[in-house]
Amino acid sequence: MTAYLLKRLAISVVTLALASMVVFAVLEILPGDPARLMLGMNASADQVELLRNQMGLNAPLVWRYLHWAGGLLNLDLGRSYTYSVPVIDLVRERLAVSLPLALIALALSTIIAIPIGLFSASRRGRAGDTIAMGAAQLGVAVPNFWFALMLIYVFAVWLRLVPAGGFSGWGAGVWQALKSLLLPAVALALPQAAILARVTRSALIEVLNEDYIRTARAKGLPYRTVLWRHALRNAMIPVLTILGLQFAFLLAGTIIIENVFYLPGLGRLVFQAITQRDLIVVESVVMLLVAAVIAVNLIVDLSYAVVDPRLRSRQ
């Protein structure tokens, strides 16, 4: 197990180093000058040059890469060109929105999806299954920004139970903050839940066809026990894989939902930074996300071992 962990860690470090080079190189060849963007169309070329110098953009490429990568090693993510504050502060503020949102959405999607998957798999081919999977298909197909707008019109405009958007910040009270995260979390969770339900169902059906399930049934175990103790546990591996991918997506891939609810999340920070060529923010946040995805994958891999004892002895 330790050797396995060490090997995984080494791979992670190499991946991070390679990713940093690719991210840096790709963003550097992107056309667009952050200094010109800040000064607009009326500033002279000399002034743009002056600002480029002040921002350190005229230093050689390799030097700038080393400076940035060296900073990352010291957990210094650099300073935003446009906001002129440390990137880490921006990230921290945004994570205060994105992390709870991702966790709530993930929890919601799991709570909705797993029971539906169980229900469908155990009633395979019957009316209940058809209806549940039809609904799941709809959940995958409905564009989530449209669904989000419908939620806003019903719960914010018509019933006025929650704000139509925005984020009051945790300082204004936990309940207030949770209220503004509720609709976006539902809008995010629904399509995720639909996918997860389908994956759970097919994984379960596959497991339910295994010989040992028949054996378990044959030795007289009740169906319920077989389903929960033997089948579900073995079907968890694909489900966990999807969950890991979904978490990474929920953390930063939710720009559209963040826009509809005008939430100050991580996705919007990156998007805004790209359009404003705030390269240092994009580079550092992307690296953080790469690190997060690697960490989540590692956790998912380790959790395979938890749900499946066979993987523990195998190296």
Partner: protein
């Protein structure tokens, strides 16, 4: 059933509490589409900086009023020497910055010298180019000497880029702006909202609002429910295409005004075949402005025939110079030796007016034999490729700086246009302060641009504001980027 009744009761309660709270309202939430990168108008071009700070947090010697007029601000009055070179400003006394320091002539000297300094990164440094020296006469009097008379000097001093800052806080204004205005900066939740509150010791006429929050709503589709739910009470810059959803609702006012944004089909004047006058004129004849305005600005833009806003006092109507005439356009192309038409590219920045207008213009030019390949670009790419490197044939953009006809006289500007006669008119304008003469020169300048068909003049970008019907005092027009809140109040 019980559930729905509870919901309904909750909704009624919410309505009732909202209604009782509005009786003596002094708070306001304003929606803005773009978040400012920082809050220092002397260190960046972004209009969003001014939309929060102008006239609210920061003030200049003069200011621009709701209809583009020059008004006194921190300067109570001024005198101009007979040769037009020396401006003596008399300042208001008892003015304090929000951090408690006194405002005096020293601060004026500091602010102006800082903006025009060698290492200044003021985005509109040209505003200060004529200043030769700034002298403090006494704490309430400052004398500005120009290198040459400049007709637009008082107007220039009213720009957001020319506001007064204190040496104590100038370097930290980006994060924590300290000005002399009626509202002071309170807090900024990055990515979300900026809050201003009434300043403690304001020197001028008292304002009505106690607290104003600027909330960032980037998505036009989200703006409508935000208004309907009452979360946000005003969108001074609303998406024209969403107006239909709001305009029949008596709870809201829809106000269409003018901006200083000349929306044009820019042409690379040095690149063949656009270096031929006939080709550029053919393009002007081929454009059907009505169709473009209907398609790209929900029918709200005003047509223009040269580079001047119809709301501007120097405007002359030249929209009849090139009526939509396909036959005439084809004839001109034939004269230019291009009877079989030609191919070109049209680079479009991401704004909706450009993307929508681009499709329509491409189809209109196809009718006269010009086949355009549409290339969508990001804003940063546009600035880099089109504006800086001049690597383009045609593009669509709105020039939003006020009174900016002089850009056609700038060396190396991306139009690649160089007409000595036009440059002369602009040079004369710079030196003329007599109003009648200025008006005549501006008229000449507009006419030369129209005759040369330098670019395809399309329409003036409309300013569509939507706000609560009980809200008063917001600007109808946008002569400069601003959300002036000094006269805004709730009626009950």
């Amino acid at each position: 059933m019980k559930f729905w009744r509870t919901l309904l009761a909750a909704a009624v309660l919410a309505f009732a509490s909202a209604a009782s709270a509005s009786a003596a309202r002094t708070d306001l939430v304003i929606g803005i589409p773009l978040e400012p990168p920082h809050l220092d108008p002397t260190a960046g071009a972004a209009a969003a900086i001014r939309e929060v700070t102008y006239a609210n947090v920061f003030q200049g010697l003069t200011r621009i009023g709701p209809n583009g007029e020059v008004l006194p601000d921190l300067a109570e009055s001024w005198t101009i020497s007979d040769d037009g070179k020396v401006y003596t400003f008399k300042l208001h006394t008892g003015v304090k910055f929000h951090d408690g320091t006194d405002f005096s002539a020293e601060d004026v000297k500091f602010s102006l010298d800082r903006a025009r300094a060698e290492n200044s990164i003021n985005a509109q440094k040209q505003l200060f180019a004529a200043i030769d020296k700034v002298e403090v006469v006494d704490p309430a009097t400052v004398k500005v000497t120009l290198a040459h008379p400049q007709g637009s000097f008082l107007y220039n001093m009213g720009w957001g880029d020319a506001v007064m800052v204190s040496p104590k806080s100038a370097d930290t204004n980006k994060e924590k702006p300290i000005g002399t205005g009626p509202f002071k900066f309170d807090s900024w939740a990055k990515g979300s909202s900026i809050t201003l509150v009434k300043a403690d010791h304001y020197w001028g006429a008292p304002v009505f609002l106690e607290k104003v929050e600027f909330r960032v709503v980037p998505d036009a589709a989200a703006a409508v429910p935000a208004l309907l739910s009452g979360d946000i009470q005003a969108f001074p810059f609303f998406d024209p295409d969403s107006v239909a959803q709001i305009k029949d609702d008596p709870r809201f006012k829809v106000v269409v005004g003018a901006t200083e944004g000349e929306t044009i089909l820019s042409i690379n004047n040095k690149k063949p075949p656009f270096d031929k006058l006939q080709v550029r004129q053919a393009i002007s004849y081929a454009l059907d402005r009505k169709a473009i305005i209907d398609g790209a600005s929900a029918g709200l833009g005003l047509p223009i025939g040269s580079h001047m806003s119809p709301a501007n006092k120097y405007y002359v109507d030249l929209t009849g110079r090139y009526p939509h005439d396909v036959a005439k356009a084809k004839e001109l192309l034939k004269e230019a030796g291009l009877e079989n038409g030609f191919k070109a590219t049209l680079k479009l920045p991401p704004t909706s007016y450009a993307r929508l207008g681009g499709e329509i213009i491409a189809s209109q030019l196809r009718d006269v034999g010009i086949n355009l390949e549409i290339i969508p670009v990001e804003w940063a790419q546009w600035l880099d490729q089109v504006f800086t490197k001049k690597d383009y044939d045609l593009t669509i953009v709105s020039h939003t700086e006020p009174n900016d006809i002089d850009i056609y006289a700038r060396k190396d500007y991306y139009f690649n246009y160089d007409n000595p006669a036009f440059n002369k008119v602009i040079a004369d304008l710079e030196l003329t302060s007599d109003e009648a003469k200025r008006k005549e020169l501006y008229a000449q300048a507009q006419k030369i641009l129209a005759d040369d068909a330098v670019v395809g003049f399309l329409y003036e970008l409309p300013k569509v504001g939507v706000w609560d019907a009980k809200l008063q005092g917001l600007w109808e027009n946008a002569p400069i980027p601003a959300n002036d809140l000094t006269k805004v109040k709730w009626s009950d």
